[in-house]
């Protein structure tokens, strides 16, 4: 008798505004028309995926004081597009990134409660803590949050939102026509939340939603970010997708849960992953190489190098050697509005490593950047990729993947047609949706609830 195999979770990321996306491919469609969102979401649902995922950016990125124009620029509003997608899908979870810095808890709680109602229990919120003053210039509150306060605000923001989600029990609407009573009690929605970030009072206007609260995602990599996830999140979106880095990350975050009184299965670990499929492994490798060159043009190589060297390299020849000097270190980064601005922890050491690599392997700057920024996780035939995904999940590299296709919106089609059936054959992927809500797809139990102070809990303890 064999033990049941760990099940793979899969989600689809609508490719965003970085150089993963190959917009120059003749097959690439619009990144803004609704038809593209419809296609990807319906493909993901056809593949029985857990959810569809949208990232967020609140200011157009700049580099060297100019709007960055080489990658996809422009995206829709997260809530609005997810709500529209709820109309043309039935089971697919709808996950959106929404910053806890440039929003207020009452408004966001209302939007997520609404999305959960309108999707019959499929909403998820990826809480990000972008903090920079550059982004803050687009907001009436202006300014920004000191970097060290961002997770404190995020935690209190969530505490406030959770309190709001739980103000209604869910059984208050009687709509008793004969008796004339619409509600069962007069104080519905009443809340009062006071902490160092928020002092809010009143009545929450949106009754309890099907999931109670949206599924909570965290994406952020610092120690604080991981603690925040361990304490609060249902799932974590990470960039650690490779075997060793993934296993280390997985062990680390799952290991943090006990201290918060939680069990390992209460946090689903989902790295972002890219893939390239071919009829043979060799063909896939060949296509992958083409894709990398499309992703990193000479001009893009210069821009990416500028992000590490933190200086204007526009005079450099991308087909020549990398810069012979060390990066400029300092607070003022040449790139603005990118989540990866602080990606290189020790730029001088990284640059030296890169130079050594270029010299040893005779790489031009562009080739070097292709090598060092390569994010292709799975390359091969459908069967190679299915096996690799299964192996990684069984080895606790992660619990599944958020797939980032490099072509919009058709980049997931072949995966769903070819890889999903193989995962099903291996017995590691569902053959039909069993649950209705996203919490059910992810194997999460009922959402925890905030105890209302006016409800006696004596009988329960």
């Amino acid at each position: 008798m064999s033990t049941p195999r760990k099940q793979v979770h899969l989600a689809a990321h609508f490719p965003g505004v970085n150089n993963t996306t190959v917009w120059s491919d003749p097959q690439a469609g619009s990144h803004i028309e609704f038809s593209s969102f419809r296609h990807l979401a319906q493909t993901a649902e056809r593949g029985l995926f857990d959810f569809f995922f949208l990232a967020e950016g609140l200011r157009l990125r700049e580099q060297n004081g100019e709007i960055y124009d080489l990658d996809v620029v422009g995206r829709p509003d997260t809530f609005t597009v997810l709500s529209a997608l709820a109309a043309i899908t039935d089971r697919l979870g709808l996950a959106g990134t929404v910053s806890s810095t440039f929003n207020e808890p009452y408004e966001v709680a209302r939007q997520f409660a609404t999305l959960d109602h309108l999707s019959a229990g499929r909403a998820a919120w990826n809480v990000v803590t972008s903090w920079d003053a550059f982004t803050g210039e687009n907001f009436r509150r202006g300014g920004y949050l000191p970097q060290e306060e961002r997770y404190s605000r995020a935690q209190h923001f969530l505490d406030a939102a959770f309190a709001l989600f739980d103000t209604w029990d869910g059984d208050e609407v009687l709509a008793d026509r004969a008796g004339g009573e619409f509600l069962s009690r007069p104080d519905v929605g009443t809340f009062s939340h006071h902490d160092q970030h928020f002092a809010i009072d009143g009545a929450f206007s949106t009754p309890r939603s099907p999931q109670g609260r949206p599924v909570i995602f965290q994406a952020g990599d610092s120690d604080e970010g991981r603690e925040f996830a361990a304490a609060t999140a249902d799932a974590i979106f990470t960039r650690h997708a490779t075997y060793d880095a993934g296993r280390a990350f997985y062990a680390d975050v799952k290991g943090r849960l006990a201290a918060h009184g939680r069990r390992p299965e209460q946090l689903v670990v989902l790295p972002a992953a890219t893939f390239v499929l071919g009829d043979t492994d060799a063909e896939a490798e060949e296509i992958a190489q083409q894709v990398r060159l499309q992703q990193v043009s000479g001009a893009t190589a210069i821009k990416l190098a500028e992000q590490l060297w933190n200086t204007d390299l526009s005079d450099l020849d991308p087909d020549g050697p990398p810069p012979s000097f060390d990066p400029v270190v300092g607070e003022n980064t040449i790139a603005k509005g990118r989540a990866s601005v602080r990606m290189h922890k020790d730029p001088v050491a990284t640059a030296r490593e890169w130079r050594a690599k270029a010299e040893a392997e005779h790489l031009s700057l562009r080739e070097l950047i292709v090598e060092t920024t390569n994010r292709q996780t799975f390359v091969g035939t459908a069967s190679t990729v299915a096996q690799a995904i299964d192996d990684h999940v069984q080895a606790d590299v992660c619990d599944g993947y958020i797939l980032v296709p490099h072509i919009t919106p058709g980049g997931l089609d072949r995966f769903v047609d070819e890889v999903v059936p193989l995962l099903q054959e291996r017995g590691v992927f569902r053959t039909a949706y069993e649950g209705a809500t996203l919490r059910e797809h992810l194997g999460l139990g009922a959402a925890p609830r905030v105890m209302r102070s006016d409800v006696s809990t004596g009988a329960l303890s």
């Binding site: 419809r38 422009g74 609005t80 440039f102 207020e104 509600l183 009143g202």
Partner: protein, 398 residues
Amino acid sequence: MTRPLHLAVALDGAGWHPSAWRLPTARPTELLTAGYWVDLARRAEEGLLDLVTFEDAFALQSTSTTGPDHRTDRVRGRLDAVLVAARVAPLTQHVGLVPTATVTHTEPFHVSKAIATLDYVSEGRGGWRPQVSARPEEVALFGRREVWGDPFVDDEATRALVRDLFEEAGDAVEVVRRLWDSWEDGAEIRDVASGRFVDRDQLHYVDFEGRFFSVRGPSITPRPPQGQPVVVALAHAEVPRAFAARSADVVLITPADNASATAQVAEIVAVRRDAGRTGVDHVFGELVVLLDDDQARADERWAQLEAWSGEPFTSDAEVFVGTPQGLADLLLARAEAGLTGFRLRPAALPQDLDAIVDGLVPELQRRGAFRTAYEAGTLRDRLGLERPANRYATGGTR
């Protein structure tokens, strides 16, 4: 020949009469489900209506002007209107979708991209009804401003507050409109030769600096299909009238008779002229309507609603209780005052929406005063509004 009217319907809860949820035709347990709103919007589309609006506010519904009323006999609880409109969009094809989004506590940057996205998901049928949140309890929901008193008290301090709120609303609409224009229509160039996805010369900082906030831009969302989604604003008093006249494409007014309609239209035209606004615009009249096949049945249903409610219905808008024929007479008479259309607030949903679609619309069509089919096009096209030129476009860009 009669000039054809434009018709909008205001959707809110179980209808505008507070007892409407008790009618046998009401669907009071479905007010938070998508199906309810989809059915209403599709019904409006069967009636060939120009647009539907979705009411909203941050605070829980209340009869008190300063806080929750803790009443259990009325509909309480609602959904975010922008999301409701977006949820309906892919399941409808023609009707304009105009949600309310308040401006007092929101970020214009977020509102701008949300309405632009509504315009994308509806393929050019998006609109926005900006509304101030004057209630002190809404201030407390955000905890960011000084809480103020009862906004309906008539003293100088309150009048000053109301003026500020509407001045801020004017700034908010201005910022949102600038953000919609912050991308030129051709900004996405996908120039494979140079590797550029956008032409950064066609993206613009809006650099708004005002008394209440500043916003840099550009938007993260490209210019929406209509260029500028249709802005609809309610103007039921002097200060909001000045705001709406300056800021909206469609101004909603609440006249009690033809004389006051004529006066209000003139006032709006004057404000618009002073503000240098040109082009075709609309002034719609607002009416609460309860319709039935004959007057007696309509009166009876109204009396039943009033009896359930236990207090007389009050509204800023005129109330019409009668037959579709009677309403058609009234609308055509009111239109003489210069109104180009009407936004009807059904007393009970879906019943009075059904009566509008099945009774009023055919009656107006018989009189040559309403369209008999949708023509292809955006909400702007339907309203005869031009697609606005982009204020930042320099003309001969590449």
